[in-house]
Every structure is written in C-alpha cells, then in structure tokens.
Amino acid sequence: MLRYILRRLGASVVLLLVVTLMTFVIFYVVPRLAGRTTEQLATMYVGRAPTEAAIQATIQRLNLDQPLVLQFWEFVKGIVVGAEYTFGNDVVQCSAPCFGYSFQTYQEVFPAILDRLPVTFSLGLGAAVLWLLGGVAVGVVSAVKKGSIFDRISMGLALAAVSLPIFFTGQLALAFLVHDWDLFPNARYTPFTEDPVAWASGLMLPWLTLAFLHAAQYARQTRAGMLETMGEDYIRTARAKGLKESRVILKHALRPALTPILTIFGLDVGMVLGGAVLTEQVYSLNGIGRYAVTAIVQSDLPVILGVTLFGAFFIVLCNLAVDLLYPLVDPRVRAAR
C-alpha cells in the first residue's frame, strides 16, 4: 500500500512536469511555429503605447530572445526556486512556486492565484456538494421509480441542464431570479470567516447554477449505475436476508453505483477548482476562472501559464485523491494492485 501511494505520488509529479512542458510548448513554441517573431510576441505584452525601447525591454524581461530550452529552464527554475524581477528601483523577489509575473496587472501570478483561491474554492466545493447530493438523490429515485413520471421529468431536466450552456442559464437566472423576481440576492463573494451567512447567500445562485449543470450528469450516471447494480446477485442476497427495501437500495445498491462516480467527481472537482471559468464570468466572481479569462483576453502569458498549471495541479491532485480513495471504497481494487 505504502509503495502504491509512493508510486502514485511519483507518477503525479512526473505528470505535472509533462503538463508543464506541454503548456510551455503550446504557449511559447506554437506561436513561433505559426510565424510570430520575437518582436511581435513582445509587442503583445507591452501595453497600449509600445515604444521600440519598451519592446526590447519586454523581450529581455521575458527572456524571449533566449533559446527555447533556456526559456523553459527559467520557467521551471522559477517554479522550483523562485525568481527575481526588477521594477523601478525595486527588485521583487518572486518566491518559490513562482509561476511568473504578470506584465499587465503587475502582480506575481502565484499570490494572485492564492488570493482568488477562496472564491473559487467556495464556489467549487459548495457546488460540488450540492450537485453530488442532488444528482445522486435524483438518480436513486429515478432508478427506483424507473419509468415513472418523476423519472421522466427529472431525466428530461437533466438533459436540459446538460444541453444549456452556463452562460445562458446563468444570465437568465440573474435577469429573472435576481433582478425581476427578487428571489435570490445578488451573487457576491463574502469571505466565510467574515460572515458565513452572507457567504452562503451570496454564493447561493452560482452554486445552484453550477450544480444544476453538473448534477444532471450525476443523476444520469447514478441512475444507470443503480439500474445495473439493482440487477446484481448480491442485491437478491440482501433482500433474502429480509432487509428493508430502503436499506437494500441505500446500503447495498448505491455504494457500488457510486464507485465509478468517484472518478468523475474527482475530475470535475479538480476542473472546477482550477477555475469555473464561465460561472465566475457570468456572476462576476473574482476567482481563478475569471482571472484566467481576463488574462486570455489581455494575452497575459505568465498568468495563462500559471493558471493552466495550477488547474492541472488540482486535477492531478484530485485524481490522486481518487486513486488513493478508491481502494478504501472498493476493496477489490486493493487486491488488484
């Protein structure tokens, strides 16, 4: 087991390294292959009134004139040991996990991400809890009452949720639920530590929207999984023991049905923690996702890189967590290792 954990950890580190390399290639190498010159690249990062001197300075700062290998090395070095940047008379120490420095907002990327982390975490985890509970509950009831009105309606709704983009549902929710009908307070982030009630009420609508989108998938998966496990022999065994139907369903059928969902859940949570791009955009929440979009719109390369890596980190982390949890949830997996 220990060895397994170590192996998975090692694999995750390697995975992150490769992700770093690929990210780098996509953002630094592909534009060049597409024909951008060093000057053109630099111009993108200079600002509104680029002077020749400023362009040259940017090339220096971003090491754009160095060989790619060296640029990559600098990049990785920054992440591992940190880097230094000069501003005016100041030398800014960008300490250890230094994903770089934004030349548009003049911030270190990593602290900026950390700064937005509580928002994204609150949004993502809150929504995740909602969609997991909601989706699974709906899925279970649908499976048990297969073919009933409830089943049909909830599966129809699930399809609607899957098929409508969040910028659509989100904006309409804002327009109607918040402004026209006053059912929900405006989306707003208040730190939990400051005021838990405001925290929850401000995030309620984004949670619901995001959860609505994801819950659909969980409901469908749970339903399919439940229908499958309900046909298993051990369910018959459980019934033969004289168990109550509710216990048969919740204890015996649900658990195996949930096991594969764990994997998706891990991926989804990782993805959302890396930034719920559209939700944060729609609800004007200053989280990592919006940070990323702003960066993309402004071609803020270091931020894009940083956010991408950070997102990858979360996905890898959640996958790792799932991999480590899996044996606990499903003992058969333990044996297979």
């Binding site: 390697v14 953002f27 592909v30 659509f168 327009a175 930034g275 890898v316």
Partner: protein, 341 residues
C-alpha cells in the same frame, strides 16, 4: 406419493436434441436485428433519431431551404427594425409602434428577425446548423478515432504501451481544455496548412476539441478492451493463429461499437456546446457566418428587446442535444444484450 405425477403428453417420450437446441425461436434474430427491432419500438429514441436525420438534411439543404423561403442568411431587413431600441418593430410602417415581443414572427419570417439589422432568424438557424453540426461531427469523429485506436491498443497490449498511453490520457485530462482551446485558437494565424478563413478556424476548432477530448473515449475503450481481452474468444482467435491486428480490429472492435456509438452520440452535443462556449469567449468562426453558439452568446446582450433571439438558438441547441441524447440512450438500450426487450 410414489407414482409419477400426471405426465403431459409432450413429456412422454424423450427428445434430447430438442432440449439441447432449446428451440427458442424468439431469439433467432441477429443482435443488430434485435437492436433494430427494439429501437423501432422505442418511440422516443426513434423520434430523436428522426430529428437528428432531419437536422442533417436541413444543414445539407440549407441553401435550398433559404432559397425557398426567400431570405439569404445575411440579408438585412433594417426597415423592420427600430433603430433606437434595435428591436423588431410591431408595425414596420410606424416607427413609434414599439417592439414586437415575438420578434417579428410571421409567415414571411418564420422565426422572426435578429435585432439590429433584421436578418431572418430562420435562415440563420438553418445555416447555423451547418457549422455547429460540422464542428460537432468532425471533432467527435476525430476524438472517436484517436480514442478508439489508442484505447484499444493500450487495453490489449498492456505493459509499457498501456502505461505510456494511459499516462498520456491522464495528461490530456489534466489540461483545462477550455483555456487551452482559447489560447491555441488565439495564436493560430489566418492562413495555415493551406486553409484560410473559416475553413481554418473550423479546422482549428475541430482539432482542439478532438485532440483534447479523446482521452474520455480512450478510457472507456481501454476499460472495455481490458475486460474483452480476458474473454476466451480472444484467446481462441490467438489459438487459430490470428495476428494482433486481426484480433484488435476484427474480434475486439465490433464488440466496442455499441459503447463507442453511444458515447459518440453523447459527445456530439457536448461539442456543439463547446463551439458555443468558444464563441462566447470570442474565438469562433468569422462573422457574418452564423453558428448557434455564436447567436446564443450574441443574443444575451439583447435579451430585453429581443427575447426570441435568446430563446430560439437556445432551443435549437437544447432540442438537438435532447434528440442526440434520446437517440443515444435508445441505442445503448437497444444494443445492451442484458436489457430484456
């Protein structure tokens, strides 16, 4: 209680062969036949399938359709628009008549008009189906092909090949796809690989979606292959002297068709939405080419003056997704040997 119970006449003489053969006439159809029969009984799935077919026809014959209705997708009807509110006038002859809440739906303009310049929404929806479906189909095809080949190879060969491919899947899954798509699309030039304009942009969209979504299907195929590999018929094929290629593509692949097909039908709508998301973030095909996603994202700015402009593309996407899903679900059920009728 020692005498034999009443023996019905059929049991009077033994008929071993009949027992062995089972004479289950009801099962004498091929799986595809059975699937087709089940599908035919599944009205919902059939409806979905019919709609999908209709959609494809509509996309293919978009020029004919719009010619029939007389409104090219880019033709303006500014005389019907109130310049101040940019909405559709109730009465085109009276500039003070206010906004038409139906967006100008009439026999002339079936789905009404776009705000601002009054393009016919019906033709734009019809033409929009072309790009949206093209992107969705091609990218689905791409990721199905990549995912299937790599998944099947990884699952069957195992060992280091599996390790490499599985790790590659992990890596691709670890990328925040949307970010990458936007970043990549942003740096792609206007002419490359002998393509230009929308052709290139579509190619890029297709490439991005296909290239980054394959691990999902790859995982499924790999998992299925892993279990199929253990089936004795694979070993049987080996024992007849079949090579790896034969086993992979003649023995195993046909068994994967059902899950792949089902997954693909579920993927197509996802990819329509993906195109929509990219349009929302400003990386899509060039105007004035209509796409559903593009229309949807554009429409949100006019939701008060032209609610129909929001609803119609939204509905188009929704109904399409619904159709594909219903069809996909139906296919899955039909091909599932375990589901009994």
């Amino acid at each position: 209680m020692t005498a034999p119970l009443d023996a019905p006449e059929s049991a009077q003489h033994a008929e071993p062969e009949a027992i062995a053969r089972g004479r289950r006439d009801t099962e004498s159809r091929s799986l595809t036949q059975i699937a087709w029969r089940r599908l035919r009984q599944d009205r919902v799935a059939l409806g979905g399938g019919a709609f999908v077919a209709l959609l494809i026809l509509v996309a293919v014959f978009a020029p004919l359709l719009t010619a029939w209705f007389g409104h090219p997708p880019n033709q303006f009807h500014q005389d019907l628009i109130d310049p101040a509110t940019q909405g559709v006038l109730k009465d085109p002859d009276d500039p003070w008549s206010g906004i038409d809440p139906t967006g100008g739906m009439s026999a002339e303009h079936l789905l009404g008009l776009e705000p601002v310049n009054g393009r016919d929404l019906f033709s734009r929806i019809v033409y929009g189906a072309r790009i949206s479906l093209l992107v969705a189909f091609l990218s689905t095809l791409l990721c199905v092909v990549i995912g299937t080949v790599l998944g099947i190879v990884a699952g069957y060969l195992g060992g280091w090949v599996d390790t490499v491919i599985s790790r590659a899947m992990d890596i691709f899954l670890a990328f925040p796809l949307l970010l990458f798509a936007i970043a990549l699309a942003g740096v792609i030039p206007d002419d490359a690989f002998g393509l230009s304009d929308n052709a290139l942009r579509i190619a890029v969209l297709v490439f991005i979606i296909g290239f980054f979504s394959w691990p999902y299907i790859g995982r499924i195929v790999r998992g299925q292959t892993l279990s199929l590999r253990e089936r004795e018929f694979v070993e049987a094929a080996r024992s007849m002297g079949a090579g790896t290629g034969y086993i992979l593509f003649r023995e195993i692949l046909p068994n994967l068709v059902a899950p792949i097909l089902v997954y693909a039908t579920l993927l197509i709508p996802t990819n329509i939405l993906f195109e929509a998301a990219l349009s929302f973030l400003g990386v899509g095909v060039n105007p004035p080419t209509p796409t559903w996603g593009g229309m949807l994202s554009e429409s949100l700015a006019y939701y008060t003056v032209a609610p129909h402009f929001v609803i119609i593309p939204g509905l188009a996407i929704f109904v399409t997704v619904l159709a594909f899903n219903l069809f996909g679900d139906g296919l899955r059920d039909a091909f599932d040997p375990r589901s009994s009728d």
